[in-house]
Structures are given as structure tokens and as C-alpha cells.
């Protein structure tokens, strides 16, 4: 600890150089945090998908509908605790650019299937008593300034109402949820959809099925699918996680692209620049190190002193980069319509910290070895 002042003085030896190196490290970790957040956003909540929920869709494709009559059969299948359905509505608000997830669901069963959704008791009650009611996420309510009691017009894209082209819903309830759960959904009642659309009566988009024995998910899914085999609407059931993962895979290998960019960032910026700065700084201080050694500083201590310099730069720059980006993101700095879940997870912050320290040590180790190996006689003679 008593040598900390020595390390501090050597960092201040060339203030400008230290400042620029710090800035490079800072920017590397701003990028790291930003890219990891994008990665989380593109994974669409796969990490938090319920392990006890199955999703059942039409075997040929998700856009084909399933009869609502399946519900009873699903509910009486062994291992099924609770089942309900959802139907994609699409729809836009005011103009075509304002598109968000509008879904028709059963107001009683759906919130029970998703305990992640937190709704005040009285609001939920109001929704149950209002056919035209809607339950909307906190983020979407904030984006458009909607409050309880507002009447919202939604333009139909898929489902035309019997009259005109616009559906009207009352905001009865607003839900909250944890950070990594999508709060931009707009739910309204399936019974209202079914009585006001121009066709496809008694058809739903997909079923969500809560099971009581998650390890047996594969068997339960198989027995569900076999019940509807060879019917007009054959089904494909998978865990919610697998269903979401399949969807994420459709977008492409975002994880790989992000990792490749990060590797480029961390190597070309952080590692090279820090390593170069440390090497340069050690070269300049050859005489000083020789003097330290003459005074009796052991080799190990010289090594530690140089490593400590590299580590301090890495730690300060990295902490500032991660911290400021985290603050910016949690203030809703990047809030956008396309990627609703925009959070920097604790796991990614930890990963960043580990990377930061590792790269700091790696960048400092060669110059530190050089300083340690200096032979006093050679070093002093060099000038």
C-alpha cells in the first residue's frame, strides 16, 4: 500500500498520455455496455422465459389459426395446470410507424399464466367488467401518454371490424413488470375481437399452457400434439423458451456479430493502446527503474508497480465506461419502439469487469516483465 503514491506519481508523469489512455479504455467499455444491451434486446427475453409454460401453434406456420375448441381438450390433458390462448392483432396507432404488440387474450386466464405481469387488483377487476377494455404495459402508456380511462383508436391491419377500419379500446389497467420483461404490450379481450371481426370466428392464434411438471415438458408436448394429429389444424408444441429461441434464431446470429465487433473493439482499442502506452512508459523510465533496483527494490515489486499502473488505468476507465452507460440506459436513454427490453444486465456488468481486469493485466504484463528483467548495469549505461 505504501507504494501507491509511487504508482500515482508515475501515472502523473505524463498527464496527457494517461488521460488519453483512460479515454480509450473508457470508450471501449461504453461500447461494450452498449453492445451487450443490444444483444439482450435481440434475445427478446429468452433468458427469463418461463420453464413451466408451453406454447402451442399451428404446425404449418404461426400465422395459421387454431380452433378455440382445442382449449377444453388441452385443459383436460394430464400434466396441464392451466391453459389459455392469445391472438395477434397487429394494428397501428395514428400512423403506420406507431406499431406495437397488440394481442387479444382471455382477461381472466392470461394474467394468471403470466405472474410476471403486475396489475393493481381494482384495475384488473375493471378490465374484467369491460368488454372494450384493455390492459397495457407501463412503457407503452408512457410513450403515448395514455392514462386509465383513455379511449384509444387502433387502426386494423389484419382484423377488420364489422364497421369501418378502426377499433376503439378503453385503458382499464396498466401493468408493471421487472426490467427484463416487455412492458410495451397492449392486451385486449378476445371476446370483443371475436364478436366484432368480419370472419374467422372461434379461431385463436396460439395457446399458452402451464404445466405442473417442467422436467416432463417434452412428453406433455408430445401427448398434446398427438391429440390433434391428422386433424385440419395439426399443432406443434414446445417450451416457451424454445419457441422464443426459435424466433430469435430467425433474426440471425446477433450474438456472434456482437461478439465479433466486441473482439475488434477490445483488441484494437483497449488492449493495443494500453499495451503500447505501458511499453512506451517503461522504455522512458529505464533509468528510474535501474535506480529503484539499485536502492534494493526486489524484482517482484518492480513487476507489481508496473502492473498496478496498467490495472489502475484499466479499472478506472472501465468502471467509468460501464457505470455511465448503465446510468444512461436505466434513465431510458435508448428507449425505442423496436427493441422494448433495453437493459444492461448485472451479468454483463460483471463480465465487463472481469474482461477489464484481465485485459489490463495482459496489457501490462510484457512491459512489467521488461522492467523486472532490467539489469542495473545495462540500464544505467544506456544513456
Amino acid at each position: 500500500m505504501k507504494y501507491l503514491y509511487l504508482v500515482w506519481r508515475s501515472l502523473l508523469r505524463r498527464k496527457l498520455r494517461t488521460a488519453f489512455t483512460l479515454l480509450v479504455v473508457f470508450i471501449s467499455f461504453v461500447l461494450f455496455a452498449f453492445l451487450m444491451t443490444i444483444r439482450t434486446a435481440f434475445s427478446m427475453g429468452v433468458e427469463v422465459a418461463g420453464v413451466d409454460r408451453l406454447a402451442m401453434m399451428h404446425k404449418v406456420s404461426l400465422i395459421q389459426l387454431l380452433p378455440i375448441a382445442y382449449l377444453r381438450q388441452i385443459q383436460s390433458t394430464r400434466g396441464v395446470e392451466l391453459a389459455s390462448h392469445a391472438t395477434w392483432f397487429g394494428g397501428t396507432y395514428q400512423n403506420k410507424a406507431n406499431e406495437f404488440a397488440v394481442m387479444a387474450v382471455d382477461p381472466e386466464a392470461y394474467p394468471k399464466l403470466y405472474p410476471e405481469i403486475r396489475v393493481p387488483e381494482d384495475q384488473l377487476k375493471a378490465w374484467l367488467g369491460d368488454r372494450q377494455g384493455a390492459l397495457i404495459g407501463r412503457d407503452i402508456a408512457n410513450r403515448y401518454g395514455w392514462k386509465i380511462g383513455d379511449k384509444i383508436p387502433i387502426q386494423a391491419t389484419i382484423w377488420q371490424p364489422k364497421q369501418g377500419n378502426t377499433w376503439y379500446f378503453n385503458v382499464d389497467a396498466i401493468y408493471d413488470a421487472d426490467k427484463n420483461f416487455d412492458k410495451t404490450n397492449f392486451f385486449f379481450r378476445y371476446d370483443y375481437l371475436d364478436e366484432n371481426r368480419r370472419g374467422a370466428y372461434g379461431q385463436v392464434g396460439w395457446y399458452i399452457i402451464k404445466i405442473n411438471d417442467p422436467p416432463n415438458a417434452a412428453d406433455i408436448a408430445k401427448s398434446l400434439d398427438s391429440q390433434f394429429a391428422n386433424s385440419a389444424a395439426e399443432t406443434k408444441t414446445s417450451t416457451e423458451k424454445a419457441f422464443l429461441q426459435g424466433f430469435v434464431n430467425q433474426v440471425g446470429n446477433i450474438g456472434f456479430i456482437i461478439k465479433a465487433i466486441l473482439a475488434a473493439v477490445l483488441f484494437t482499442l483497449f488492449f493495443l493502446v494500453t499495451a503500447q502506452t505501458m511499453a512506451q512508459s517503461v522504455r522512458e523510465r529505464t533509468t528510474e527503474f535501474a535506480v529503484l533496483k539499485t536502492l534494493g527494490f526486489p524484482d517482484g515489486l518492480v513487476l507489481t508497480l508496473v502492473l498496478a499502473e496498467a490495472l489502475i488505468i484499466a479499472a478506472v476507465g472501465g468502471a467509468l465506461g460501464l457505470g455511465l452507460t448503465w446510468m444512461f440506459i436505466s434513465q431510458g436513454g435508448f428507449n425505442n419502439a423496436f427493441l422494448p427490453i433495453f437493459v444492461l444486465t448485472g451479468r454483463d456488468v460483471a463480465l465487463g469487469a472481469v474482461l477489464c481486469v484481465t485485459l489490463g493485466v495482459l496489457a501490462g504484463v510484457l512491459p512489467a516483465m521488461a522492467a523486472m528483467r532490467l539489469r542495473i548495469v545495462d540500464a544505467l549505461r544506456r544513456n
Binding site: 496527457l16 498520455r17 488519453f20 489512455t21 479515454l23 480509450v24 470508450i27 471501449s28 461504453v30 461500447l31 452498449f34 453492445l35 443490444i38 399451428h58 404446425k59 404449418v60 406456420s61 404461426l62 400465422i63 395459421q64 397487429g90 397501428t92 403506420k96 406499431e99 387502426q155 386494423a156 391491419t157 389484419i158 377488420q160 377500419n165 385440419a232 389444424a233 395439426e234 406443434k236 424454445a242 429461441q245 426459435g246 434464431n249 430467425q250 433474426v251 440471425g252 446470429n253 456479430i257 465487433i261 475488434a264 473493439v265 483488441f267 484494437t268 482499442l269 493495443l272 493502446v273 503500447q276 502506452t277 511499453a279 512506451q280 423496436f338 544513456n383
Partner: protein, 396 residues
């Protein structure tokens, strides 16, 4: 003036000759800039490839008719009688007294993606016999066109490459749907190559659509007849439709995805660029400080301050240029033509496309690299010019 130029050239040459002595530190600046350019060019080449595949798919001579309010073919719906009526509109090309128009259905079918093994939303298009006549860029590359009235189908080259189960000669089965693949078609790399085509009546049956379609694609007798065609349809009280040029429809479809990728790419490249500039500044400071005595000597001999500044800037510009060239070249070799597919959220279906490293992207990357070099050299150049000669000569 010529004396000044000679002076400057002499100083630059001196600088260049000493670069090998500072190879390590110059390499850091070059690699830093190259890294930024690689990321910049690579990410934007994704956006460019996607845009080219989707936006260039339509022809301005074709008009696409959908139900009003629908945001894509997927969400549109037209009854059979409406489709027949649309084909009678004026301005539409007629050959042998028959309209050159195809009433179509656009649905999706789940096929396993080759790279992940999980299923993906592949567009399945039910077409009428004039589909190939309307789309002049679609050519059968292998096999033959399917026969109407059967369950034969043809697949685009991109779909064939990206998804399994639809090889030429194979039979694809899913639920009640069975397709016999008899041909593979191309459409100049555009979005149609991700589609599977079969008889519209087959889709009507399997997807329970009755006698209904989703869109009518019509060839106009000339691009100028578009207004006549549109006005007749939109003022017809029997119809509730929207009419767009096929080219406009596809151009609009690529916007969301393209702007997201471009936004991410430019943000990352700008932030990285700032980092690389700091890297370049450090390198150039090192360059200046190792040549302190040299530069001071030159100035003591009466060399102009400006030529010293220019020489430092030239060196850092050269490092930027080398980095830009290496980065651009590496991005081109590694990514140009790389085949992949993604989900287009505007149509809820897959688009196969190839990364495109265009000359324009490479030029932009190089200009960016030069800018990083220039900014990186400024401060060190000023420092070199301001060195107090006596103390600089005494240093080390």
C-alpha cells in the same frame, strides 16, 4: 514558395525514413484505424445487402393492389370477385385480350433454417399463371416451372440455400401441406429468391382461404399509366383497396431494418473512431517525442515551422490511409457476398441476402480513416512546432 515546398518534402522524407525505428508504435495507430474501418464497413455492408435485396425487388412498371389499411401483403385480403374486378382496370397491360396480372396469396410456411436447425417463417406465395410474365426478372435456373392444378412448387435460390427440406426433386410435408419441388428460380438476388411458389388454389385450400387472395400484382402498359390505373381502382365504390408501385412497396419494406442496422453501425463506428483517434494521438506524440532532437535541430537550422507541422500531419494521414486500406480490404475479403438470412419484421418473414461491400462503402471507410489520421495528428503537430529549441536540443 518552391523553397518552402522543397523544405517540407525534405522534412517529410526525413520523417518517413525514421518510421522503421518506430514500427511498433506506428503499427498501433494503423491497427486501431483498420479495426474501426473493418467494423464500419462490415456492419454497413449488412444494411446495404439487406437494402439491395428488398428495395430493388420491385419494378416501377408493376402495380401492387392490396386491401386499404393493410401494411403488407401478409395482412391484406381481397375476395375473388374483387380480384377479378381489379384485373379489368384501365392502364393494365393486356396480351391476347387477357390481363397480365397475377392474383396472389402470401403466407408463411415453417422450414428449418440450415444454420440453426430451428424453424423459420419462409414466405409461400400462391400465384396465377401470369406470375412469371409479370415478374420479368424471375428465371427458372434448374428444373422446370410447376404445373398449375397440381401440388408442385418451385423455390427461390436463396430459400434453397438457407433452409432444409426443399431440395430439387424432394417432397416437403407439413400437416396437410405437401409440396413437390420441381424447380429452382432466381430473381437477380432480390427478395423473391427467399420465396416458395405454388398454385394459388393450392394455398387457398390448405390455408382455408376460400375463394380469396391477398394481393394482385399487375403489369402496367407503361409506367405512366399508373395514375389512371390507381384512380380507377380507388374511386371504384365496389372496392376498398390501396394501389402502390411495386418498386415503392418494396423500398418502404426495407426501411425499418436498414435504418436499425445503419444506426447501430454508425454509432459503434463513431465511438470506436474516437478511441482510435486517441490511439493515433498517442502514437504521434510518441513519434514527435522520439524525434524531439531531430525536429529541434531542423528548426535551429532555419526550417520553417509550417513544414514541421505539415510533415507530422502527413505522417499521421499516411498511417490513417494505410489503416483504412487494410481495414477496407480485410472487410471486403472477409464479408463481401457472405450469404445469410434474417427476419423482416415488416412482413414477418425471412429474407435471404448477401453482405455487400460496395465501392461507395469502401470510399466512405477510407475518408473516415483519413479523418481519424488528420485529427490524431493535429495536437502532436502543434506540439512539434512549439518545442522550445534550446531545451529540446538538451533533452536526453
Amino acid at each position: 514558395m518552391s523553397g518552402w515546398i522543397r523544405q517540407t518534402l525534405a522534412v517529410i522524407l526525413l520523417g518517413v525514413r525514421t518510421i522503421p525505428r518506430r514500427l511498433g508504435s506506428s503499427a498501433v495507430a494503423v491497427i486501431g484505424v483498420a479495426g474501426v474501418v473493418i467494423v464500419f464497413v462490415a456492419v454497413l455492408s449488412i444494411a446495404e445487402g439487406f437494402r439491395a435485396a428488398v428495395a430493388d425487388a420491385g419494378s416501377p412498371d408493376n402495380a401492387l393492389v392490396m386491401r386499404s389499411g393493410a401494411d403488407s401483403e401478409m395482412t391484406s385480403g381481397l375476395g375473388g370477385p374483387e380480384a377479378d374486378l381489379i384485373k379489368q382496370a384501365p392502364g393494365l397491360l393486356r396480351e391476347d385480350n387477357r390481363p397480365v396480372a397475377s392474383a396472389e396469396l402470401y403466407v408463411i410456411v415453417d422450414l428449418p433454417k440450415r444454420t440453426t436447425g430451428t424453424t423459420a417463417n419462409v414466405p409461400l406465395r400462391g400465384v396465377e399463371s401470369s406470375a412469371l410474365r409479370v415478374r420479368e426478372n424471375v428465371k427458372i435456373a434448374e428444373g422446370r416451372m410447376f404445373q398449375f392444378g397440381t401440388n408442385e412448387a418451385i423455390v427461390g435460390q436463396g430459400a434453397n440455400r438457407q433452409f432444409t427440406g426443399i431440395d430439387l426433386g424432394s417432397e416437403f410435408k407439413s400437416g396437410q401441406l405437401t409440396l413437390k419441388i420441381v424447380g429452382i428460380f432466381t430473381s437477380g438476388g432480390s427478395v423473391a429468391e427467399t420465396e416458395v411458389w405454388c398454385d394459388a388454389h393450392l394455398v387457398q385450400g390448405i390455408y382455408r382461404r376460400g375463394n380469396s387472395y391477398q394481393s394482385v400484382l399487375a403489369k402496367l402498359d407503361s409506367a405512366a399509366s399508373f395514375d389512371t390505373f390507381r384512380n380507377w381502382l380507388t374511386t371504384n365504390p365496389q372496392l376498398d383497396v390501396q394501389v402502390r408501385r411495386e418498386s415503392d412497396y418494396y423500398a418502404a419494406q426495407s426501411t425499418v431494418m436498414t435504418s436499425i442496422i445503419q444506426g447501430i453501425g454508425v454509432t459503434v463506428a463513431l465511438l470506436m473512431g474516437v478511441g482510435a483517434v486517441f490511439g493515433a494521438i498517442l502514437t504521434m506524440y510518441t513519434a514527435v517525442s522520439t524525434r524531439t532532437r531531430e525536429i529541434a535541430t531542423l528548426r535551429a537550422l532555419g526550417f520553417n515551422t509550417l513544414s514541421v507541422i505539415v510533415s507530422v500531419l502527413t505522417e499521421s494521414l499516411a498511417l490513417g490511409a494505410i489503416g483504412g486500406l487494410i481495414g477496407g480490404l480485410a472487410a471486403y475479403v472477409a464479408f463481401n457476398g457472405y450469404q445469410t438470412s434474417t427476419m423482416n419484421f415488416q412482413t414477418f418473414s425471412q429474407v435471404a441476402f448477401a453482405f455487400r461491400v460496395t465501392p461507395q462503402l469502401l470510399v466512405t471507410g477510407l475518408v473516415y480513416a483519413l479523418a481519424m489520421g488528420l485529427v490524431g495528428g493535429l495536437l502532436p503537430a502543434i506540439r512539434a512546432a512549439r518545442l522550445p529549441i534550446p531545451s529540446a536540443l538538451r533533452e536526453l
